[in-house]
């Protein structure tokens, strides 16, 4: 832990290191990540889609120079997919080999760590260190209540219990980051164990800076134009207001097409990288793409 304290002495130091790695976090997010690493405590990140929740965890892992272990949640995900599974073919083989050699095999011999196949959660606990791994449990709201309950032991005690083996404790407790899109309310018991941070859409200057950082070599004027256009689009009544991810994609699309300036014609060609609903594209067209790119 002292190693971590040296690496991350303060919130500002973390923010600076994140920026170096290419992620511009505001003070709120930097504080949240700092607390997650140093307290340590699992962190629940919420925010609109495309606001950089997953990216935050990836960058944190890069800053700490530790592996990022990612678990994408989905409906019906269970222990065999998230935690561990037994290596059945190998167990069968073990039985055959024992037979051939004339040994008798107790059941316990088949349920040892040798036969255990780690899934992301177990991998995160088994990470040898010295620094903790970053465990990203992505879109936890897609999993069901039963899965949430399964996470409690991991989040609270940094351990998991395998019935055949007993409790496996983390060598170095991982830094846990959960993300949610709020498709349903998470259980209070889960929230109680976590820090919480809501990532907002960034202010214009920050958005420009992020777009420039993520589309390396992009001209400042194009990044500024795109960020402004996205900010304008966000004032319209859209079904899915574009996020920072869309702004980055839009800039990349413009660069690919060799556009140095985002004009009305260029916007018409590339609008599909920002607005993903036909209705939204119509709303933008009604307001005028000239207005969107700041010509009107």
């Amino acid at each position: 832990m002292s190693d971590l304290a040296d690496a991350l002495p303060s919130v500002e130091a973390l923010a600076a290191q994140l920026a170096e790695t290419g992620y511009l976090a505001d003070e709120g997010l930097a504080t949240a990540l700092f607390c997650a690493v140093r307290l340590p405590q699992p962190l629940l990140l919420e925010g609109e889609a495309g606001v950089g929740k997953t990216e935050a965890a990836k960058t944190l892992a890069a800053v700490l120079d530790t592996p990022l272990i990612r678990l994408q949640c989905y409906e019906g995900i269970d222990a065999a997919e998230a935690l561990y599974e037994w290596n059945y073919p190998r167990q069968l083989l073990g039985i055959r080999v024992a037979e051939a050699e004339g040994r008798t095999l107790a059941e316990d011999d088949l349920f040892t760590e040798d036969y255990l196949v780690g899934r992301p959660l177990l991998d995160a606990l088994r990470h040898p260190g010295p620094r903790p791994a970053v465990l990203l449990i992505d879109e936890v709201d897609r999993a069901d209540d039963e899965f949430e309950a399964m996470l409690f032991e991991l989040l609270g005690e940094a351990s998991v219990t395998v019935p055949e083996l007993g409790t496996i404790r983390a060598t170095v407790p991982p830094i846990v980051i959960l993300t949610s899109n709020r498709t349903r309310d998470l259980h209070d018991a889960l929230k109680r164990r976590c820090l919480y941070h809501w990532i907002d859409y960034p202010a214009l200057e920050r958005a420009v800076a992020i777009v420039r950082r993520r589309t390396d070599g992009g001209s400042e004027s194009l990044a500024t134009q795109v960020a402004r256009a996205v900010t304008r689009l966000r004032t319209l009544e859209l079904q899915k207001p574009p996020g920072i991810a869309e702004a980055i994609n839009w800039t990349l699309a413009c660069q690919l097409l060799g556009l140095d300036v985002l004009d009305e014609a260029g916007a018409a060609r590339t609008i599909g990288s920002v607005l993903k609903y036909r209705e939204d594209a119509e709303v933008a067209a009604d307001r005028g793409l000239g207005w969107v790119v700041g010509e009107g």
Binding site: I77, L92, Y196
Partner: protein
């Protein structure tokens, strides 16, 4: 900006008191979280108010909806160099009392239709259909039948407070049964398609490693999600309390999701899980204070879809809308939003208590625009009529 350097005051006490104030303002801050806040302050040693703000927000809150209240309390405590003790017990203002005015009474005439509807309960006594025609000779007859039977046929708008309390018990017995769907979880089943390798191998140990018996699994079947969205604007006011109880019953029985709207949409699922329908209704009134204002249904549906439905809440679900369909906005817009909803949902049911009237015809305005996107249109204005609703949800 901070009155005294952080190190000079007892951190635990400040954190504890601040947590207490937040708790009083309605944010459930546990001592555990306050402790976490104190630890974080000691660890990060914030230089300014901003740093302190973020440490507090990250450690003490658990939901985006709490941010506004948190900001206010934080501003009060740390913003104006105010002594913590002066502000103890700060509470959000009490909501204005909500009265349910007995609605206009509607002549019967729809009774035949509802005695027809299939029901597991004892069939209603024919006389009771016009129980609200308060004539003295009728009351003597009514006294003979049970309270349940008397209430069964009554229009929700005509119930008084005691009857509403009784209604709650009757609604609790409703059996909501949304149609099933296959989920990804599996259960053991002899004729299942997938082989359960773990269990098969466990059996194989008994037969010298030879998997003689294969254990199989198949996907589990679960009822679809039920989502109820109830209009509590002025024109629906006579019905609001009864339907709130319906929402309460549905949330309790099938883990349904409940929303209400007048001028804006409010998610009531959690308050209905925790509180009585009356308390939840008051809360909804606080969130949507415009009880007598006009209904704007389309924006409410749009808000539901944007904030919840599209993200997954409405996908494959049975969505029930309770509203009289008196749209003050553009009917075409309602049609558009209903089309979006219909594309997401498995089934859309519309309960319109005004449809019980023989003069009602959904020919104009919002209701007409919504009709093409609705799978079932029912009146659901009395307990007896709710049988139709149950059927419509199940279909």
């Amino acid at each position: 900006m901070i009155p005294t350097p952080v190190s000079d005051v007892d951190l635990a006490e400040v954190a504890g008191r601040f947590g207490f104030l937040l708790h009083a303002a309605g944010i459930p801050v546990s001592p555990e979280r306050s402790g976490r806040f104190a630890d974080a302050v000691a660890l990060a040693v914030p230089a300014g108010l901003d740093g302190l703000y973020w440490l507090a927000r990250v450690t003490l809150l658990s939901d985006h909806g709490q941010v506004a209240v948190f900001d206010r309390v934080f501003q009060q405590v740390f913003g104006g160099l105010v002594d913590l003790a002066d502000h103890r017990g700060d509470r959000p203002e009490d909501p204005p009392p909500v009265h349910t005015r007995p609605g206009e009474r509607r002549p019967g005439g729809d009774q035949d239709e509802h005695t027809r509807s299939a029901s597991a309960r004892p069939s209603p006594v024919p006389m009771t259909g016009r129980g609200d025609d308060d004539g003295p000779e009728q009351e003597t007859i009514l006294a003979a039948v049970s309270a349940d039977e008397r209430l069964r046929e009554r229009d929700f708008a005509s119930l008084d407070a005691a009857e509403l309390r009784h209604l709650r018990r009757m609604l609790a017995e409703l059996r909501f049964a949304p149609p099933p769907r296959r989920v990804r979880r599996t259960r053991r089943d002899r004729r299942g398609r997938r082989i359960d390798r773990r269990a098969t191998l466990a059996r194989a140990h008994r037969t010298a490693g030879e998997p003689v018996v294969t254990v199989r699994r198949r996907h589990r079947i679960r009822p679809r999600r039920l989502v109820l969205i109830c209009d509590i604007s002025g024109s629906m006011e006579p019905y609001a309390r009864a339907y709130l109880q319906l929402l309460h019953a549905a949330v309790g029985a099938t883990r349904a999701e409940a929303f209400v709207f007048a001028t804006r949409l409010t998610r009531l699922t959690r308050s209905l899980q925790l509180r009585s329908p009356d308390q939840a209704l008051r809360q909804a009134g606080r969130a949507a204070p415009d009880w007598s204002g006009g209904t704007r249904i389309a924006p409410a549906i749009a808000e539901f879809l944007d904030r919840y439905g599209r993200r997954g809440l409405a996908r494959g679900a049975v969505v029930v809308i309770v509203s009289d369909g008196w749209e003050h906005g553009d009917p075409a817009e309602l049609g558009e939003q209903m089309a979006r909803l219909a594309r997401l949902a498995h089934r859309v049911v519309w309960i319109n208590p005004r449809a019980a009237s023989p003069r009602f015809a959904p020919l104009v305005g919002g209701m007409a625009a919504a009709m093409p996107h609705i799978d079932a249109f029912v009146s659901g204005h009395s307990v007896a009529a709710l049988d139709e609703v149950i059927d419509a949800i199940h279909a």
